[in-house]
């Protein structure tokens, strides 16, 4: 208790003196703010990537042709689709029909609104069950597409990023132009950056015969393994099954991997700079406070309390910096959108990302305060007092 009381007294005395060192204290605040702003801004993109398929969950599986890496180079015949749909691990709706969504994907050339550059948007055909499997899909303008009528609905993310996808305009397919009859939201997931149609009408319209992939709702935790067994043992069809969240993680890995590497690489490098700045500032703070510290020590306050006051000063200043940095990142980037490959992602400054920023700041403070706090604790009382 006594130790705690001492720390409290010495630190509060120290904090009251901070305003006399306000400019040099700003070095820690400003430095940490820069580091955290950069770190949190870039991580908001990786958080957005992770969030874009969080809804996919682990209770869903994707079926692809055995040799295919992605859905757009996979091909599933109607027979293969019917076989996979009937396997026991697939959940069924109340009426008894399997929750299985055979999809056809195609890409459509578009232009980006920013910079008018060439881009590609995904055009995805869902089965009737597929629409039912996306209860979060809400029409926000226009109406839902009618199956068989050759109509599409466009995600708000796709409309915001690409030209020519406004409600009422048409998209050019190989066999005719299809009208855009509605705009939808789906909680910012990947579909929201795509164009949706119904698969069975889309397939002939883009000159194909087969589906690309199939999404299955699983009955329970063990269902994936049994599904994989059934499908692997089928002599007739060469298919593979993967958890849908794993599939998304795999297909977005190079983006999330690159931005994670960049965030921690740059954040780490900047943190090194900030640590040196912190050490510098704290050393000069300790030498400014040398009389105060010597007096306190002469009065009987312990070395630990003095050292703790230095560490607490560093923590306080760098936390202020972290909050400023995270707030800056939030103001500029939260809710912003980025197009990576053909996918549209919503940047999100999540609590977890802010937490990483704050941890980073705490790390900078603790590493930066280590040596100065030792010097403060070891100060020769007599020498310091004699200088008065």
């Amino acid at each position: 208790m006594e130790a705690l009381r001492q720390i409290l007294v010495v630190s509060s005395l120290n904090f009251r003196g901070l305003r006399h060192r306000i400019w040099s204290s700003l070095v820690i605040v400003g430095g940490v703010a820069c580091v955290v702003a950069v770190l949190v801004s870039i991580l908001s993109l990786t958080a957005g990537i992770a969030r874009s398929y969080a809804a996919a969950g682990s209770e869903r599986a994707i079926v692809l042709a055995a040799g295919a890496m992605w859905d757009d180079n996979s091909s599933l015949t109607h027979q293969a689709v019917n076989f996979a749909r009937a396997t026991p691990g697939v959940k069924r709706a109340e009426g008894g029909s399997p929750l299985a969504d055979a999809q056809a994907v195609s890409s459509l050339p578009v232009s980006k609104k920013s910079g008018a550059l060439e881009a590609t948007v995904m055009l995805r055909g869902l089965s009737p069950a597929g629409f039912a499997m996306h209860p979060n899909l809400r029409i926000v303008a226009g109406r839902m597409l009618r199956p068989g009528a050759g109509e599409v609905i466009v995600g708000v993310g796709a409309e915001r990023q690409f030209t020519g996808l406004a409600l009422g305009s048409t998209i050019a397919l190989q066999h005719g132009r299809w009208p855009i009859v509605g705009m939808f939201r789906s909680d910012g997931d990947l579909l929201e950056g795509e164009i949706l149609a119904d698969a069975d009408t889309l397939i002939p319209a883009i000159g194909r015969k087969d589906y690309n992939s199939m999404i299955l709702d699983l009955t329970g935790p063990g269902a994936l393994a049994s599904l994989q067994r059934d499908i692997a043992h089928s002599p007739q069809f060469k298919l593979k099954v993967e958890r849908q969240s794993d599939y998304y993680a795999r297909t977005t890995r190079r983006f999330s991997g690159f931005f994670t590497a960049v965030a921690f690489g740059l954040g780490g490098l900047m943190a090194i700079g900030a640590v040196f700045g912190t050490v510098n500032t704290l050393y000069s703070a300790v030498s400014t406070r040398s009389r105060e510290i010597a007096t306190l020590r002469a009065l009987g306050f312990g070395a630990v309390a003095v050292a703790a006051s230095v560490i607490l000063e560093a923590l306080l200043l760098s936390l202020i910096g972290a909050v400023l940095g995270a707030a800056t990142a939030w103001v500029f980037f939260n809710g912003d959108q980025k197009v990576l490959g053909t996918d549209v992602f919503n940047l999100s400054v999540t609590p977890a990302v802010m937490g990483i920023g704050i941890l980073w700041a705490v790390g900078i403070a603790l590493i930066g305060a280590a040596l100065p706090s030792v010097r403060a604790a070891r100060a020769e009382i007599v020498v310091a007092l004699r200088a008065v």
């Binding site: 400019w23 702003a37 950069v38 060439e118 900047m270 510098n280 990576l340």
Partner: protein, 389 residues
């Protein structure tokens, strides 16, 4: 020169402070060099990409949908002077994790893709040894291949006429990587590829590349090609190579976004430097106010005092910048270990302009930081300063 000892004395007065300032400057400028270097190399791929070459692929994204018969029709489009084509052989080497994609090019393609660092003799060799391929250094390094290596590419489902799931390729040689293809290249023979496919799959093409007579005609020719096939069984999408790279198709990340991240981080680093160096020099001058007062009292001109302060700020900033740039230069060789080549992110290139900019900013920051303390010294009240007030 005679002032050198004075500056030195100022710097070593608190050596720890000078060293810490220098090290933080080194970190900030290492970051500056790497980020702007990365941006420079991404921009470089656009600069060297050709405007007079047009990529032609299937409009709705399906690979191997185009047919060889389209070549003759593309050749007749005004301004098109030559057309090459390739097939895409996609599988993996030993482990599904090591994906291997070979570009199987026809005999016209080398004339259009003149940047490809392969000699006519090597092309000839590729036509003679039917399963022979040439690989770029990145591929050779990541997959451990060299000239003479067997290089079987495996796939889960056979696409060959003989039903085999392995393409028994053989490495004939290794060539240098191209900045436009940081993920590496595997180059093989189209005719070998095509003739190994089942009859029904032959005569298909993944992409064409057309050369036009003048870069100014590229857009018009690209549009004409797309119009030509608009209502055919296989509509095309034609994009001049430079536009393709400008659109961020290399890594899938928009060039503007790479610029935002790199420039933003570099700016944040410099902003941090402004705080650090500014604080150091202000503190150092404040502690020595009395000394400066003495110097002014014995007749040092204001300009000389300002210059002394300036040099004292410039030294750690500039030295830090140089150390930082040297450290940054050590990163490009280990870049493939940090960022896998398959992500197609070019290696940061610390070009002369990037280095020059770093030095310029180091000087600029030092000058900005020296401004306030030297103004204060200029207005110094000598009497009270000498009295220690």
């Amino acid at each position: 020169m005679k002032y050198l000892p004075l500056v030195w004395a100022g710097l070593v007065r608190k050596p720890l402070r000078t060293i810490l300032t220098l090290l933080s400057a080194a970190a900030a400028f290492m970051l500056f060099g790497l980020t702007l270097g990365l941006n420079a190399s991404v921009r470089h791929t656009i600069d060297i990409a050709r405007m007079d070459c047009i990529y032609i692929g299937a409009r709705f994204g399906d690979s191997a949908a185009l047919t060889v018969s389209q070549r003759e029709r593309i050749l007749k489009v005004p301004h098109v002077i030559n057309v090459g084509q390739w097939g895409w052989l996609s599988g993996y080497y030993r482990d599904p994790k090591n994906s291997a994609n070979a570009l199987m090019i026809d005999r016209n393609e080398p004339q259009i893709w003149s940047e490809l660092p392969m000699s006519p003799a090597q092309f000839q060799q590729m036509r003679t040894v039917r399963n022979g391929v040439f690989v770029s250094q990145v591929i050779a390094n990541t997959l451990g291949l060299k000239a003479g290596s067997d290089f079987p590419i495996r796939m889960d489902m056979s696409n060959r006429a003989d039903g085999a799931t392995v393409w028994p390729l053989r490495v004939l040689g290794v060539f240098h990587d191209l900045p436009t293809d940081p993920e590496g290249l595997i180059i093989g023979d189209y005719y070998y590829f095509d003739q190994s496919l089942p009859l029904a799959d032959r005569g298909k093409v993944t992409g064409f590349e057309a050369r036009v007579d003048d870069p100014a005609n590229a857009m018009a020719a690209a549009r004409a090609i797309d119009r030509l096939f608009e209502n055919s069984a296989v509509p095309t999408r034609s994009v001049p190579e430079k536009i393709f790279y400008e659109s961020g198709n290399l890594s899938g990340i928009d060039v503007a976004d790479i610029g935002l991240v790199t420039n933003g981080a570099a700016a944040a680093g410099l902003f941090m430097m402004l705080f650090l160096i500014g604080n150091t020099i202000t503190q150092s001058v404040r502690e020595r106010t009395q000394e400066f007062a003495v110097m002014k009292a014995v007749g040092f001109a204001d300009l000389t005092v300002t210059a002394l302060v300036l040099v004292e700020a410039v030294v750690p900033s500039l030295a830090g910048a140089l150390i930082g740039l040297l450290l940054a230069l050590a990163i490009p060789p280990v870049w493939p270990l940090i960022i896998p080549p398959s992500w197609a992110m070019p290696t940061p290139h610390l070009s002369m302009p990037v280095m020059g900019l770093a030095i310029l900013f180091a000087l600029l920051i030092a000058c900005t930081c020296a401004l306030i303390p030297s103004l204060r010294l200029r207005r110094l009240n000598l009497v009270s300063a000498l009295a220690g007030r």
